[in-house]
């Protein structure tokens, strides 16, 4: 996973709430067995509408998505994160996320920042007034800066450290393999064994 410290980019204002993962990438794109190349599926139903914000050339090349509350609810499909990453997004900003999507994003180096609704609305206004507005997302300082304003965000120390170091969870866990083996030694006898 790529290390994340500070990211600066322009933003797309997605003025919608409850953007579920079926909207981020419809199920038909989930039939693939690869891990890359999902950018064509990103918001594919909505992108058929020429007035959809992602079709506005003013926002071409943006790497920060600013969305309404309950972003990424619903299905556990990690494809939603892959599609956002593959399209070129590095950061999503929303007041609230679906839990599974949030977990997936932080494992894939897509920083999902939680800011209050008022901050999101200010960012929407700034970006709509000037699509070239630079949004600076500073993970070290846990701060978003844009248009001369700044907003602090929360992310627990462990998750932040892992993102900043670009660490793979499996490698971290396998450092504790002895503890896993020890635990397995005293699981109850009536436990289910499939095979």
């Amino acid at each position: 996973m790529e290390k994340f410290t500070v990211h600066t980019g322009t933003a797309v204002p997605l003025r919608r709430s409850n953007v579920d993962t079926d909207q981020i990438i419809p199920a038909v794109y989930l039939k693939r067995v690869t891990r890359t190349g999902f950018e064509d599926g990103l918001f594919s139903a909505w992108r058929e509408d020429p007035s959809f914000v992602l079709n506005n050339p003013a926002y071409a090349g943006a790497s920060v998505l600013v969305a309404g509350p309950e972003f990424g609810t619903g299905s556990s499909r990690e494809h939603a994160v892959w599609a956002l990453n593959d399209y070129g997004f590095r950061v999503v900003i929303s007041p609230r996320y679906g839990d599974i999507f949030r977990g997936n994003s932080l494992k894939q180096g897509l920083l999902t920042v939680e800011l209050p609704q008022a901050a999101v609305e200010t960012l929407w206004d700034l970006v709509e007034a000037d699509p070239a507005t630079a949004i600076e997302v500073d993970l070290a300082a846990r701060e978003v800066r844009a248009g001369g304003q700044s907003w602090a965000f929360e992310l627990d120390d462990f998750l932040r450290w892992r993102l900043m170091e670009g660490l793979d969870d499996i490698g971290l866990t396998l450092r504790h393999e002895e503890a896993i083996t020890a635990f397995e030694g005293h699981r109850p006898a009536f436990g289910v064994l499939v095979g």
Binding site: S75, R77, F158, E184, P188, G191, V192, V194
Partner: protein, 470 residues
């Protein structure tokens, strides 16, 4: 110290705890299906890793499978995904119930029906409806593909302890009102984000009276209001359901297991971070009108005016939903005509659900112009239903009796809505395009689905008696 059910299950699975880090939790059962596993197996191969515990891992095929036959997967992309799962399971030594196997079916039906799901376990699957298994007092939650790979490699997951919420459902469900109506009403009351950050325990007299099938319907939809998991304390109903199933303990192991399971319910005096209440006796058949599961109403209500909602984000979502669903505020929900009725899914594809729908349909006909699909949640459910003659009730009524799979719950297999079609569906998500691009979904209970099939518009079984349709 007094602990909740979820805390007890959690504590029993902590492999490692360190300050400033998430707990490392042991996973007792890992369920796999074809959609969210291929990239995880690829990851193992790339790193030269094995599946640590093939004896705690089991796979089935469900999302892509056809429901009109057991032999041919027409879509080559779907077929490749299924074949990839078969290859991966063979290569890594994972047990698989493929299409045509007597235990094949929707992953959350397949596990419980074999007795794989038991109280006190930790269960994960790359599928958000893994919350279903919480009905047995297991801590069960959906994970992404990176986590699937993590569990395959280590049989553990790093997890931060969520907050605890109790949902107490008082009173008694009125006749004709089911577990599905209960959970739809709760989600509308609390909103799609209401459970976010919490492990929920459903409790109270109305929950205790539910069958295991009903409890699974409730736990299944925990994710639809954002909860991490939704548990129900194991009790005599749970034990009776489990006893004798393929993987249920036997003899002394059974007695030991039951003794342990009896220690799991939340202690008197345990505290929750949040409490929510719902009065079951005030509930009616409940349906959704919008494009998220929190946009629901009593079947007796009308399409709400989007401007009547409290916050701007709710108003904007309601405006968009009314437009997408092609609705006029003020229209009675009963006036909405449907093109398709779907009975099935991990929410309502179990034997009891099929019995309920068949009871409504017996001696009646599906309305002209309405297509009704009845899709058992598993091959085993299909077989049991046929032993009871339910399939004849459905086919006599003019409904399609199909093979097991996720079917029309999501647009990954041939069973989809056409653009603009409206459905009454016993599944769990009414998102835009969920059942097929441009499709419009109303979530309903099995009883409402069957009654709607008869009249052609959203209806409850009681409406049928009123018009003398029998």
């Amino acid at each position: 110290m007094s602990r909740t059910l979820a805390q007890k299950v959690w504590d029993a699975h902590v492999v490692r705890r360190a300050d400033g880090e998430p707990d490392l939790l042991y996973i007792d059962l890992h369920l796999l299906h074809e959609v969210t596993s291929p990239q995880a197996f690829d990851g193992l191969r790339l790193a030269g890793r094995k599946v640590r515990r093939t004896d705690l891992t089991i796979a089935t095929e469900d999302h892509n499978t056809p429901t009109d036959n057991l032999l041919t997967i027409a879509d080559p992309v779907s077929r490749t995904q299924i074949e990839t799962l078969r290859r991966n399971c063979a290569e890594f030594g994972v047990k698989l119930h493929p299409l045509g196997d007597p235990q094949q079916g929707v992953v959350h039906v397949m596990g419980p029906q074999q007795g794989l799901t038991q109280p006190g376990m930790t269960i994960v699957c790359g599928d958000s409806h893994t919350s279903t298994h919480g009905a047995f007092g297991a801590l069960a939650f959906g994970i992404g593909t990176s986590e699937v790979e993590h569990v395959l490699a280590t049989q553990t997951l790093p997890q931060a302890l969520p907050k605890q919420m109790a949902v107490t459902v008082t009173g008694e469900l009125p006749p004709g009102v089911s577990a599905k109506d209960l959970i739809l009403a709760l989600i509308t009351q609390e909103g799609t984000g209401g459970g976010r950050g919490y492990v929920v325990e459903y409790r109270g007299p109305a929950i205790e009276k539910l069958s295991m099938e009903g409890r699974m319907t409730v736990s299944n939809m925990s994710i639809e209001w954002g909860a991490k998991a939704g548990l129900i304390a194991p009790d005599e109903t749970t034990f009776a359901w489990l006893k004798g199933r393929n993987f249920a303990p036997e003899g002394q192991d059974w007695d030991d297991a039951v003794a342990y399971w009896r220690s799991l319910p939340t202690d008197d005096g345990a505290t929750f971070d949040k409490e929510v209440f719902l009065d079951a006796s005030a509930l009616t058949p409940f349906v959704t009108w919008g494009t998220n599961p929190g946009q629901g109403a009593s079947l007796d209500a009308v399409i709400p005016d989007p401007e009547s909602f409290a916050s701007e984000s709710e108003r904007a979502a309601a405006r968009r939903a009314v437009e997408y669903m092609d609705l006029t505020p003020g229209t009675p929900l009963r006036d909405l005509s449907v093109d398709v009725v779907f009975v099935g899914s991990c929410t309502n594809g179990r034997l009891e659900d099929l019995r309920t729908a068949a009871d409504v349909l017996r001696g009646r006909k599906v309305a002209d112009g309405v297509r009704m699909l009845v899709v058992p949640g598993s091959a085993a459910v299909r077989e049991q239903a046929e032993q009871e003659g339910l399939h004849e009730v459905f086919t006599d009524a003019g409904a399609e009796w199909r093979f097991a799979g996720c079917s029309m719950c999501l647009g990954m297999n041939p069973d989809t809505l056409q653009p603009g079609q409206r459905s009454a569906s016993t599944s769990n998500r009414n998102f835009e395009g969920r059942q097929g691009k441009g499709g419009r979904t109303h979530l309903v209970s099995p009883a409402v689905a069957a009654a709607t099939a008869v009249t052609g518009h959203l209806s409850a079984p009681a409406d049928l008696d009123a018009v003398g349709a029998r």
